[in-house]
């Protein structure tokens, strides 16, 4: 695992900053910042997941649940109890962390497909709760009138402002995650992924690390959920269903789960495919989507971040 140099990170930052400006000057994409807001929100979850799956080697098909927990805690606290959105956001992350701890501790002892099923089940159970606890969650029709975010009178009320808020958070989390990966913790995680017996023989407390990462990814998902709720001012359960959990898997796999960049690229690509580009195919959308997915998994087993490697391979020949 090579260290990530300063340069790419700076380019990334610059891209984030200038994107709205570029978009603003090209009429064809002047609405992209709006989509980028969602891309950023999904990117937050994807980064946590790629740490969990790509580095700790633990699958989760239930992260839509934490995404939903964040959104609903925010919504309920602000709408029903009139609390400040930021409090709601924080509370959401705390709740998500606690739930992740309770579910993760026993679940992460499971291996492979068993873990997949446990997380899948957890996701569906939470989804059912969102649907059934109508007096709290508003049931399938959801909750509307969720307040927007503002700080010291400065409201994040325009697309641009919210874009910078979301991507600012994304960038911070990105740096944080990279630091973790490049620290002893990251090493321990990769060790677990590579060989659990060797890792534990070297003194790595495997279950502890798994739970830590699980909780971390859950908190990121929850944060994303809150950002979503306060941007759309509306949430309903179907946003947090099994299919979204699967979509997250797809993002990671498509981008390449062995690199944090994979999360960024994957989430961006999937977001634009499903919210913008694919609708040109109309009814065929589903099929095209499936086809793209299949082709990538077949020809880019390591996702899009694997492309450079493959290109190098060609050049050598």
């Amino acid at each position: 695992m090579l260290r990530i140099g300063k340069l790419p990170i700076t380019i990334f930052a610059v891209l984030i900053i200038i994107f709205p400006w570029i978009a603003d000057h090209i009429s064809a994409i002047d609405h992209y910042p709006d989509i980028m807001v969602f891309a950023g929100i999904y990117c937050l979850i994807a980064m946590g997941l790629s740490l969990l799956m790509g580095y700790a080697g633990q699958i989760s098909i239930g992260h839509a649940a934490f995404y939903g927990i964040g959104a609903y805690v925010s919504a309920i606290l602000t709408v029903r109890y009139g609390l400040n959105p930021w409090t709601g956001m924080l509370a959401g992350m705390v709740v998500a962390a606690v739930v992740a701890l309770l579910v993760g501790a026993p679940s992460l002892k499971l291996k492979g497909h068993y873990l997949a099923m446990a997380t899948l089940a957890f996701g569906i159970i939470v989804y059912i709760i969102f649907n059934e606890e109508t007096e709290w969650t508003g049931g399938p029709d959801g909750m509307s009138g969720i307040p927007g975010l503002s700080i010291f009178g400065f409201g994040f009320d325009s697309v641009e402002k919210y874009y910078y808020l979301v991507w600012g958070i994304v960038f911070i989390v990105f740096i944080f995650t990279i630091n973790v990966i490049q620290s002893g913790t990251g090493r321990a995680l990769r060790a677990i992924h590579s060989s659990e017996p060797a890792a534990s023989a070297m003194g790595v407390d495997i279950s502890r690390f798994k739970v830590i990462v699980f909780v971390y990814s859950a908190m990121l998902a929850s944060l994303a959920g809150s950002l979503y709720a306060h941007y759309l001012n509306f949430i309903n359960p179907s946003t947090f269903d099994l299919f979204f959990s699967i979509k997250l898997l797809i993002m990671i796999a498509l981008g390449g789960m062995h690199s944090i960049w994979g999360a960024v690229i994957g989430s961006g690509l999937i977001t634009f495919l499903s919210y913008e580009w694919l609708h040109y195919f109309g009814e065929f959308e589903v099929i095209v989507y499936g086809a793209i997915l299949l082709l990538v998994t077949i020809f880019l087993p390591h996702g899009l971040v694997g492309v450079p490697g493959i290109v190098k391979g060609w050049l050598r020949r």
Binding site: L2, R3, I4, G5, L7, P8, I11, F12, L15, F19, I22, I26, S27, A28, I29, D30, H31, Y32, D34, I35, F38, N131, E132, T134, G139, P140, D141, G142, S144, G145, Y228, L232, F234, I235, N236, S238, T239, S259, W261, V264, I265, G268, L269, F272, S274, Y275, W277, H279, Y280, F281, G282, E283, F284, E285, V286, V305, V307, P308, G309, V311
Partner: protein, 420 residues
């Protein structure tokens, strides 16, 4: 390190790719544009640059539509989309409105709140439509409602929930949002009135755990006291369940005087069959207006006999007499739809018909100024004869229907017939 640099490059490529693809303004196959020839495609591209210019006479009347045409709730959006496109074609075939073509731009929400929100913004800010019809679901409608209000664009929702046209805070409708479907309230009122007439008041509710079922269930529970209904059972099932015998068995044990089922899709047929199998025939069975398609009677394979349900005019066109106000519109719509898509009419397409017809009327009389259209809808839609009733909008009522919008029908010999 180098690898990282390249992956960064990939990010850049990504953005530029996005650029390319959407610059390439392909005319799309979803029938996004009903009457879009290459010329207007070019024209459209130019117009996108000039801001408010799109409203100049040479242009077309741009109407946006967002339906859940695919996905789990396509049973709503699909007929709505088909209806809207058919209507747009007819209007244009008849020379358009005020000599201008009606350009209908349809996006598919897949029933997803996020998509609905993005697509509505896109319709307003990029496609510069002057009015939008849809979305198909109460959920998605509530999700996009703020967008319509912010951007001061009239929106005619095709979803049931009364919340769409009722602002809890003000107690009045939202300024820019209207809706065509009867609220669940009316369907429930129709059913309860019918039950009360037969003095049945000990009822059991069964509902699907989707938005449609849940809001119906909510209204059933809310209005029960007003009609002196006693709900002895309140059962649910998933939209993809294979069998509801368990729920019905429980109900059977509570021996209610009538069963009211609120669902759509295959489950409302399965539930009927299970009800028959359990030999509960002597308990009258009421379906919601979601049952409003002959296809369901067919699928029920005889199990639908004697089932009651509240329907709008368009479902029972043949039963109407030329003296009924809706006779003509309903008959015509039914004929055209069958002719074009050769599939039986569902209850939901009519909502799109009503919405688009009103829009057409508004455009014809006030042009495509958003504010004017909104005011026209509120002030001038009076006694508008639609598929699902006679609409009369007012500042306090952006739904414009009364419970007579529903007729109670009973299934007899595999077809609807008016019930006394």
């Amino acid at each position: 390190m180098t690898l990282r640099r390249i992956s960064i490059f990939a990010v850049i490529c990504l953005c530029s790719l996005g650029l390319l693809i959407s610059c390439a303004e392909k005319p799309d196959m979803s029938g996004k544009v009903a009457e879009l020839t290459k010329e207007n495609a070019a024209l459209k591209a130019q117009l996108a640059k000039l801001t408010e210019e799109s409203a100049k006479p040479t242009g077309t009347y741009k109407v946006g539509a967002i339906f859940s045409a695919t996905g789990r709730t396509s049973f709503l959006g699909d007929p709505e989309k088909k209806t809207a496109e058919m209507l747009a074609e007819q209007i244009n075939a008849a020379g358009g409105i005020n000599g201008r073509k009606l350009e209908l731009i349809v996006y598919d929400t897949e029933g997803d709140a996020t998509k609905a929100n993005l697509h509505l913004k896109r319709l307003i800010t990029k496609d510069k439509v002057s009015v939008v019809i849809g979305p198909s679901l109460s959920g998605t409608s509530l999700a996009v409602l703020p967008v319509a209000e912010e951007n001061e664009t009239p929106l005619i929702s095709c979803a049931a929930s009364y919340k769409i046209v009722h602002n809890e805070k003000t107690g009045k409708p939202y300024k820019w949002v209207f809706k065509t479907p009867q609220t669940d309230t009316m369907a429930v009122e129709a059913i309860y009135t019918h039950l009360a007439k037969r003095d049945l008041n000990k009822i059991a509710i069964v509902s699907v755990t989707s938005g449609f079922g849940a809001s119906g269930r909510g209204e059933l529970i809310r209005l029960a006291p007003t009609y002196g209904m006693k709900i002895v059972a309140d059962e649910k099932y998933g939209p993809k369940d294979t069998d509801m015998t368990a729920q019905l068995t429980k109900i059977k044990g509570l021996s209610p005087q009538a069963i009211v089922n609120w669902s759509v899709g295959p489950t409302q047929v399965t539930v009927l069959r299970n009800y028959r199998d359990l030999g509960m025939d002597s308990i009258p069975f009421y379906q919601s207006h979601g049952f409003g398609s002959r296809k369901n009677i067919e699928l029920a394979a005889g199990a639908a006999e004697g089932v009651y349900c509240p329907l709008g005019a368009c479902n029972i066109a043949e039963m109407l007499t030329p003296y009924d106000t809706q006779y003509n519109v309903a008959m015509q719509y039914m004929k055209n739809y069958k002719a074009k898509y050769n599939e039986p009419l569902s209850s939901f397409g009519g909502h799109a018909w009503d919405a688009l017809q009103m829009v057409a009327q508004a455009l014809a009389s006030v042009g495509d100024d958003k504010a004017k259209i909104r005011d026209y809808l509120e002030d001038n839609i009076k006694g508008f004869v639609g598929q699902h009733g006679v609409f009369t909008y007012s500042p306090d009522d952006h739904n414009g229907l009364t419970k007579d919008a529903f007729t109670m029908v009973i299934v007899k010999d595999g077809d609807w017939s008016r019930s006394s």
